[in-house]
Symmetry: C2
Subunit: 146 residues, 2 copies
DNA sequence: CTTGACCTTATAGCAACTATAAGGTGCATC
DNA sequence: GATGCACCTTATAGTTGCTATAAGGTCAAG
């Protein structure tokens, strides 16, 4: 091990991730196949750290591993127009906003459900259980009027 | 097959779900073990439909199957206090709000990333790729656990 | 009695890891 | 040189809530 070289564990520490994750990324074709010591240990260099950090930043932004793979390829073609990159980010942003809207409506529904029951009663009279037991979605009379 | 009885497919249709889902819920201990025809077909009755609809409503509210299992048990003890039910719903609402907050901050970050690049350039100069290649939030590198 | 829609089970796959087992390496210390 | 220990290796299974496939059996209509 020379200076500027890392074992998988050292690379993991440097990137604040775990060795298993790095091996997993290798199997998934995100990390390059590293050289090995005579004993079979993986040896990484600083460009591997760069690549790993790129991957982790993409993950932090919620990109799927497949998207990350594509982003890595795009990032390598430095002279190509970046329109595809920009589009990928924009599309992902759209997806996140969609999930956000869904989660917001879930939160509202769940809050309504939660407020159904005043507490202190028994299951037989619990408006929450009642709401879960009948079709609130199609009911004319809403189960809960908070 | 008498009236008021369902095969798994008919039950699925009645609940607007799929037969495989019902069998899966049975394996997971959510649906009761049904009786069978001499040929081995599952036979369901209207209380099975009620139970299935209860499960599906819980799923609609985002409860995990484990939570649904517990809610089913709680719902069966009609004379017990409903505090546990109420607490389960409240806890789930908290989790949803937590996810919501994470998703909101992700949306903001992603919007900032998206706006980095004006478009029309090449990858080499793309601020998005640059952002993904450098430590933008460099004061802290939060390891996002989604 | 054949057709065809439906049913049965078992098994594998998805995403992105996490956990476990069983063993090998590298380096410091005795 | 032997030992100990932290770290490395691979393979395999588990997580969640389904979905897909294969290979076969049942039921009711025509
Ligand atoms: Zn209650
Ligand atoms: Zn809804
Ligand atoms: Zn962040
Ligand atoms: Zn760009």
């Amino acid at each position: 091990m020379q200076s500027g070289e890392y074992t998988v564990g050292q690379l993991a520490t440097a990137a604040r991730t775990k060795a298993v994750t790095i091996r997993y990324y290798e199997r998934q074709g995100l990390m390059r196949i590293p050289t090995r010591t005579p004993g079979g240990y993986r040896i990484y260099r600083s460009d591997d750290l760069d690549r790993l950090l790129f991957i982790l930043r993409c993950r932090h932004f919620g990109f799927s591993l497949e998207n990350v793979r594509e982003l890595l390829q795009l990032a390598d073609q430095t002279d190509a127009p970046c329109a595809e990159v920009d589009a990928k980010v924009a599309r992902h942003l759209d997806e996140v906003r969609e999930r956000l809207a869904e989660l917001q409506s879930l939160e509202a529904e769940l809050q309504r459900l939660s407020r159904c029951c005043a507490g202190g009663g028994i299951v037989k009279d619990c408006r929450i259980i009642e709401s879960l037991s009948r079709d609130i979605g199609n009911s004319k009379t809403p189960a809960c009027t908070p």
